[in-house]
């Protein structure tokens, strides 16, 4: 059965002053967008990708989001969240934010194509895949090294691949890849895994998947396209050994997308520090979802963050005043 997805950027007026601009359209942003649109806030979402959903779109199945007893496709869930928010009037613009000016009562958001202005800003920029940090990683990205199984899995039919990581993502994507590849290694630094027990059981029961534990990546040799090699160090014996593979899929956690906010907002290990109302240390600026400094990063927690932030933003917008243009200039006072 063929699928046909429709996602086109909306149009919006850049000369308007928005009540709320949401940066990033993952589950947190889309939920905040849904709530804000229902509060009738003049809301705009800026999303760098052409489809909303953030990291949801690069996962195959979501099994721990309530309300879907039969599990749901990540891309489908993302699409439905977007559809629901748009239904209530959220407008989504496909533009990547280059820089922000968050001080003052009118916030300015700069993209390649112009500047957007808003009374409040909600940061939902999430996080990106962490890289391995080995030599030649950039050189072979897209040519043997991938961070998205749903994108590139179909390009490895009957091939041998190695999944790096020991968490839920690594296990879920290994199961997905086993539909295409003839063999999937899961390479992990330690003997125990962070992946949920249910996923571990499934991996153990899958004939195509082999666990390689206590193994640290030393280097890769992809020079010969036909004979790619992954060199690992056995952490118990300190001996090097190699795996003959065709590709590597990396799922070793994430790093927050906060570089454009550095210096304007309080960060903790790169993540944004918020209070109980999801407000940052900058007046008029909130953050929600994976980008926040917090313990658990899930779709289920992100949507709660987004809803809560929208609630407090709505209260704030009600009482918002353009302080700079209200107060008389200093010179006038002195006179």
């Amino acid at each position: 059965m063929l699928d046909f997805n429709l996602n086109l950027s909306d149009n919006a007026d850049a000369s308007e002053l928005y009540d709320l601009i949401i940066i990033g359209g993952g589950p947190a942003g889309l939920t905040a967008g849904l709530y804000a649109a229902r509060y009738k806030l003049k809301t705009l979402m800026l999303e760098k990708s052409f489809i909303s959903g953030g990291q949801l779109t690069s996962t195959e199945w979501v099994e721990n989001y309530p309300g879907f007893p039969e599990r749901v496709l990540g891309q489908k869930l993302a699409q439905d969240m977007e559809k629901q928010a748009r239904h209530f009037g959220l407008r989504i613009i496909t533009e990547m934010v280059k820089s922000v000016e968050l001080t003052g009562s009118v916030k300015k958001i700069h993209t390649d194509y112009g500047t957007w202005q808003s009374k409040t800003v909600l940061i939902c920029t999430g996080s990106s895949s962490r890289k391995l940090g080995i030599d030649d990683e950039d050189l072979y990205t897209g040519r043997g090294i991938s961070y998205c199984a749903t994108c590139d899995g179909p390009l490895y039919p009957d091939k041998v691949v190695a999944v790096i990581g020991g968490g839920n993502s690594a296990f879920e994507e290994a199961i997905f890849l086993s539909k295409y590849a003839s063999k999937v290694y899961i390479v992990h630094r330690s003997e125990s895994f962070r992946a949920d027990k249910i996923l571990q059981d499934r991996v153990v029961a899958n004939d195509k998947i082999e666990l390689v534990t206590n193994a640290e990546i030393d280097h890769i040799d992809f020079a010969d396209d036909e004979h790619r090699k992954l060199y690992l160090i056995d952490r118990k014996t300190n001996e090097m050994f190699k795996l003959d593979i065709d590709g590597i899929f990396v799922f070793i956690g994430n790093i927050p997308n906060t570089s454009i906010f550095d210096g304007q907002i309080e960060l903790e290990k790169g993540y944004i520090v918020t209070d109980r109302t999801h407000k940052t240390n900058q007046e008029g600026v909130w953050a929600a979802g994976d980008v926040q400094a917090k313990a658990l990063r899930q779709v289920a927690t992100a949507v709660g963050d987004g809803a809560c932030a929208a609630f407090w933003i709505n209260k704030y917008v009600d009482e918002w005043q353009d302080i700079e243009s209200l107060s008389p200039a200093k010179g006038t006072l002195d006179a």
Binding site: F4, L6, L8, I51, S146, C151
Partner: protein, 218 residues
């Protein structure tokens, strides 16, 4: 038989409602050795059924050799999105789709139709200046898979370049339908943009990176 369900079709109708000038989809097909020709044809029939400004012209790859040559068609199924000037003429910008534009690429097709019809594009002044000064031809091939959410931006960007500049031609190539091309261009990750058969760009790169790569290729 329609391939789009009613829900998608009514959304398509709404989106195509903003078309201004007429657009013709030149469709190249073949009754044999083409896994997705039938589905692609039905998809295009679905599209033209919801908007009068959109029409389809069907050509046979093995028989209509003149049209195949003048459009520069290399594979089937192929779609060329052109501005309809009158009943016998249309403007070919070099905007092509090889393979069925299903999955996420369906948006790329609608985006191309709207762009050709309305003339609206979103490129920075720097990019436009660069394209205005192009003196050598540029051929962009964007390799995609239908399940790749990062692919349409690369396709849409390449198609915008083709629409804006006469020197640029841009193809979407759905790689799972042409395994021999995956080998030839060593595509192991999508999107992958190939510039003039030789230079590569991985991922959904921003405008400035594509411009930079084209500069290197020339």
């Amino acid at each position: 038989m329609p391939v789009l369900n009613n829900e998608v079709l009514s959304e398509v109708q709404k989106i195509l409602g903003s078309m201004t000038k007429p657009v013709v989809l030149k469709y190249f097909s073949q009754p044999f050795e083409c896994g997705y020709c039938k589905d692609t044809h039905e998809l295009l029939n679905d599209l033209v059924s919801v908007n009068d400004k959109l029409s389809i012209e069907v050509y046979q790859f093995d028989k209509d050799t003149n049209q195949v040559q003048s459009s520069g068609i290399e594979l089937i199924p192929a779609i060329s999105v052109e501005l309809k000037v009158d009943d016998s003429t249309s403007t070919d910008y070099g905007i092509k789709f090889y393979g069925i534009p299903a999955g996420y690429e369906f948006s790329s097709l609608l985006n191309a139709i709207l762009m050709v019809s309305t003339g609206v594009i979103k490129l920075t002044t720097e990019t436009k200046a660069f394209l205005n000064n192009l003196s050598k031809p540029v051929q962009l091939k964007v390799f995609v898979s239908p399940t790749c959410p990062y692919c349409p931006p690369a396709v849409m960007l390449a198609h915008q370049f083709a629409f804006y500049s006469k020197m640029v031609k841009a193809d979407m190539v759905e790689i799972t339908e042409y395994p021999h091309l995956a080998n030839k261009y060593s595509v192991q990750g999508v999107p992958r943009t190939v510039i003039n058969e030789k230079w590569y760009l991985e991922g959904a790169a921003p405008e400035v990176m594509l411009v930079q790569k084209i500069k290197e290729a020339l």
